[in-house]
């Protein structure tokens, strides 16, 4: 099982580098640098991390092909590989519709999926023509994107709940080829998590994923009505707040994040392996604090020893 951590989207460069060094020295396999809506331009942060680390792979993404032409994505991945070696992976996904609209990038949900899958083909081809072998993964949640990921080198599923994760995996499990990376990218908080609602950072992250859940999936798991009120609030306010968190309630939020102790994490990871997952990226808020990265390093160092 490969362990990855997503750095905080608000980190300045020195904080990102410090955390990447801790992860690298501590044996974390992948450090992921999110692009927009992060303020820093991910490929440049990735270059700086490559200068300061030795072993970890560096993930660029999530990157939205709606914001950049495929040629530019191929260019920045190629330049990174040419300059710093074959240590880079790319995670593609449409991105958040609302935040993209704030910078003038607007299109329908259907078109977002179509453009992303089309870009996946172009980018894979472009990288192949340039002679680069970096993995291109697709970030997915809904059935269309999950299916589309079969053309990629792997998928990172935006689920935490084991039942949902297994459901998503079953959509493609029988069709994946050898070497295909099956991964999860859930909001994560490893620590004391008695009441998820009182921990704002994890509850906000979980609520964002829950509200963004596709209608098809919401319906399949009987969650449509229970999420609807939070969706309406999101449309009104434009950004996440406690009203939405309270509207969803802890039972729902728990399904959209891993929130638990190191011991619970160990059990969670073992179950994921049994289901068939080969990698996990611990999403925010785990990478917000330096301590969060250190906790993951410690958890990984003891994982598999029992």
């Amino acid at each position: 099982m490969r362990w990855g951590v997503a750095l905080n989207v608000r980190d300045d460069m020195s904080e990102s580098l410090r955390k990447a060094e801790i992860a690298d020295r501590g044996g974390i396999d992948n450090v992921w640098v999110t692009d927009f809506p992060a303020i820093r331009y991910a490929p440049v942060v990735a270059a700086a991390i490559a200068e300061r680390t030795k072993s970890c792979r560096i993930g660029v993404g999530l990157v939205s092909p709606l914001l950049y032409p495929s040629t530019q994505i191929v260019q920045f991945m190629s330049t990174l590989v040419d300059s710093y070696g074959a240590r880079f992976d790319l995670l593609l996904g449409p991105g958040d519709k609302l935040v993209l609209a704030s910078i003038g990038v607007s299109c329908s949900s259907k078109l977002m999926v179509d453009k992303t899958t089309h870009a996946l083909d172009e980018i894979k081809q472009g990288l192949s023509e340039a002679g680069h072998t970096c993995s291109v993964l697709l970030g997915a949640q809904g059935p269309k994107m999950i299916k589309a990921s079969l053309k990629a080198d792997g998928v990172l599923l935006n689920y935490a709940d084991l039942e949902m994760a297994e459901w998503a995996l079953n959509q493609i499990k029988n069709e994946v080829r050898a070497g295909f990376q099956l991964g999860l990218f859930p909001p994560t908080y490893v620590g004391d998590c008695q009441d998820i609602i009182t921990n704002q950072s994890i509850s906000y992250s979980a609520a964002m994923v829950a509200i963004g859940l596709s209608r098809v999936v919401s319906n399949s798991f009987g969650l449509l009505d229970r999420i609807q009120a939070a969706r309406i609030l999101m449309k009104e306010h434009g950004q996440i707040n406690m009203d939405m968190v309270n509207s969803l309630g802890s039972e729902i939020l728990q399904r959209f994040a891993f929130c638990g102790t190191s011991e619970q994490l160990r059990n969670y990871m073992k179950t994921l392996e049994k289901i068939g997952f080969t990698s996990i990226v611990f999403g925010p808020p785990q990478g917000i604090r330096k301590r969060g990265v250190e906790i993951l390093v410690k958890a990984k160092s003891t994982y598999g020893m029992d």
Binding site: F36, I39, R40, L67, Q72, T79
Partner: protein
């Protein structure tokens, strides 16, 4: 002893990682003031990663984009890349912007009705975002709604504009920290005066605007092939606006022939029509002594910085070392 000026190196995204890496690693010891990086749209290395790598591989030299067309990137990407590169460079990064070369814009189907307005709005928007403002702002090419960078404190990134025409030059004098100029000597004299006058009209000092002159420099004394030089000059001629050509006493028929050939096929074919006179008007070439003489001429009309290269061909590494040494020797001479 010549007018005081700095010497810098210009590279483009179309160059190899080996070449750009060598320049980054040796720029400080050569004594370069800056490395300016031109974006060849969609070709070669990605501009922001190359700029980052250049900053990371050097210690003292200023690294600037020279230029990035605002017409091909989302304004939020420009703002975010600026923040990121400024952090990496710790004060060594300069943002060179422009509208883009005529040939490139046509090739990629980019049409802009009011280029001066677009560039003015882009500069203003970037500065406001870096100052920490939340913006609702739009132009022909961008649209921001309730967008900010979430910066805890304002940052100040120097903006240089790569421009040609009179309206653009005036805009630069009014709003920019520097100008990146390219063109024949007579044009440079005219452009620098226009920028200086506009700066003073806007209540600034002419010294508030750095004048960077980047023309093709072709050190033929180190084995560079003249056909490479002619190809570059053909491209420069194709990108030179009529207003600039009108200032020159060159054979206009020949110039038009070159422009048509470049537009119809490529700079390689256009190079066939570049004669010695045009080569001399549109580039700085020859021996290191002659090249440095030309640098001094350019400095005498107000340029604060002269950029060497590209094309980098022949034994260009040795040529760079010798040109910088020649400049240095004249500085210490009594």
């Amino acid at each position: 002893m010549s007018e005081s000026y700095e010497v810098s190196i210009g590279i483009t995204t179309h160059m190899s990682v080996n070449a750009t890496g060598w320049i980054a690693q040796n720029s400080d010891s050569l004594g370069a003031r800056s490395i300016w990086i031109g974006e060849d749209i969609a070709l070669g290395q990605e501009i922001f990663v190359l700029t980052a790598a250049t900053l990371l591989q050097s210690k003292k030299v200023r690294v600037g984009t020279g230029i990035i067309p605002v017409t091909v990137h989302n304004i939020a990407t420009l703002a975010r890349a600026g923040v990121t590169l400024d952090e990496i460079g710790a004060g060594r990064f300069a943002f060179g912007l422009g509208i883009g070369g005529i040939q490139d814009l046509e090739k990629y189907g980019i049409h802009i009705k009011r280029p001066v307005t677009e560039l003015r709005k882009s500069v203003k928007t970037l500065r406001r975002l870096w100052a920490g403002e939340t913006l609702d702002s739009s132009s022909e090419k961008f649209s921001l709604h309730d967008f900010n960078l979430g910066q805890p404190s304002p940052i100040n990134i120097p903006i240089f504009l790569g421009v040609r025409g009179p309206k653009m030059l005036k805009l630069t004098g009014k709003v920019a920290d520097g100008v990146i100029l390219s063109g024949p000597f007579d044009y440079l004299r005219y452009a620098i005066k226009l920028v200086d006058d506009a700066a003073e009209e806007a209540g600034r000092s002419k010294n508030d605007v750095e004048k960077v002159v980047w023309v093709p420099t072709i050190p033929t004394f180190k084995g560079i092939q003249e056909k490479v030089a002619r190809r570059v000059v053909a491209l420069v001629i194709a990108d030179t606006p009529d207003a600039v050509l009108d200032m020159l006493t060159v054979d206009r028929e020949k110039v038009n022939q070159i422009r048509e050939t470049v537009a119809a096929s490529s700079p390689k074919e256009g190079a066939e029509f570049v004669d010695d006179e045009l080569l001399d008007v549109f580039s700085i070439s020859g021996t290191k002594e002659h090249m440095v003489d030309r640098f001094e001429e350019v400095a005498s009309i107000g340029a604060t910085e002269v950029v060497i290269g590209p094309p980098f061909s022949g034994d260009w590494r040795k040529a760079l070392v010798e040109i910088f040494a020649e400049v240095d020797s004249r500085r210490v001479a009594p």
